[in-house]
């Protein structure tokens, strides 16, 4: 028991020491098509001029974990370095026929479905490497889906600080209040990754989140 306490203490001290030197791993998690890559792209473009990945209206466009290291974000004369980790959307089901309905050829749809399932497994594995996570939700959709609750529940269980980004506030149907009601214990920031609405408020929240790591 005493050895375990000593080990945990040493690990934490090491972690504190290295975190001040290194970058913060910031993950983007959420259901498919919530705008994780769009948000990661906006941040990357704002601070590095480059994008992190391709976006599409079709779900499961991101089927591999993709990341950008050494992204320095500045807010009110402070600067922090992040490793931005964009992950495939988490789902409990994937049907290639949904892609066929979206006019994709059967073989291509089957391959996309297979890659999507592998991407989800990969995204879950990466959870352990995160210092903090932005859960990106589509503000026009029902926030009470089990996938959202499972993601947040897992982050809490792993003691990973969470920020909820209610994306797509540029759309009429967006309801940030509903997301705040669904997740009353978390900081929720309404944003539009597409047009940059509230992005400064988002960066402020990211800095607050980074303090918790």
């Amino acid at each position: 028991m005493a050895i375990k306490i000593l080990k945990d203490f040493t690990k934490r001290m090491f972690g504190l020491f290295f975190k001040t030197k290194k970058q913060i791993s910031l993950g983007f998690y959420g259901p498919p098509n919530a705008g994780k890559t769009s948000l990661a792209n906006r941040i990357c473009k704002d601070w590095t001029g480059e994008e992190i990945g391709k976006v599409s209206k079709l779900p499961h466009e991101t089927r591999n974990v993709q990341f950008k290291e050494e992204v320095e974000i500045k807010y009110k004369e402070k600067a922090l370095k992040f490793k931005l980790v964009d992950t495939p959307g988490i789902a409990t089901k994937i049907d290639y026929e949904d892609f066929v309905k979206a006019k994709m050829q059967k073989k291509q749809a089957q391959r996309r479905a297979k890659e999507a399932t592998q991407g989800i497994v990969e995204a879950i594995k990466w959870l352990d490497d995160m210092d903090a996570v932005v859960v990106v939700l589509d503000a026009t959709e029902n926030p009470y889906s089990q996938v959202n609750l499972t993601i947040v529940g897992n982050l809490v269980a792993r003691k990973i600080p969470v920020l909820i980004a209610a994306n797509k506030v540029d759309l009429k149907k967006a309801d940030v209040k509903k997301i705040e009601l669904a997740f009353p214990d978390y900081d929720v920031v309404g944003i539009s990754a597409k047009d940059g609405k509230n992005i400064d408020e988002f960066y402020e929240s990211v800095f607050k989140l980074a303090k918790k790591t």
Binding site: K93, I124, Y144, Q146, G153
Partner: protein, 130 residues
């Protein structure tokens, strides 16, 4: 264990928490997914731990790639509203949760080929069948 079968062949399988409480996480997931693969909808007393829920998703994804016709699962948890509880009750339930697992919830897990969608809000859960 109670079973109910309707005319169109839908089977609901009720699993009391005591049926899985002694199992390891891996065994729990294995047991639940085996039932889902039989095209049955599980009504589980209690809920899985957060890490078991992600494990269930991971194993489901692996199965989609390996079992022909399997498209995944629909999953939803209905919990009692803790806002109605007093501080003492919350502490009591918190302690019971640590000792015996969360039993004051219902988890519904079904194959995506049987359940089309589960719509949940704080007050109700709607299950749409195919």
């Amino acid at each position: 264990m109670a079973k109910k079968e309707s005319k169109n062949g839908l089977t609901l399988q009720f699993i009391p928490f005591s049926d899985i409480s002694h199992l390891s996480s891996v065994e729990r997931i294995k047991k639940l997914l085996k039932i889902v693969l039989d095209n049955k909808v599980i009504v589980l007393q209690g809920r899985l731990k957060p890490e078991e829920e992600t494990r269930l998703i991971e194993d489901t994804m692996i199965m989609i790639g390996n079992i022909k016709g399997f498209k995944g699962v629909e999953l939803s948890v209905v919990e009692s509203n803790s806002d109605d509880k007093t501080l003492f009750d919350k502490m009591r339930f918190g302690l019971a949760k640590v000792i015996a697992g969360q039993q004051d919830a219902i988890t519904i897990i079904g194959p995506a080929s049987v359940i089309k969608e589960m719509k949940k809000d704080p007050k109700k859960l709607e299950v749409m069948m195919r």
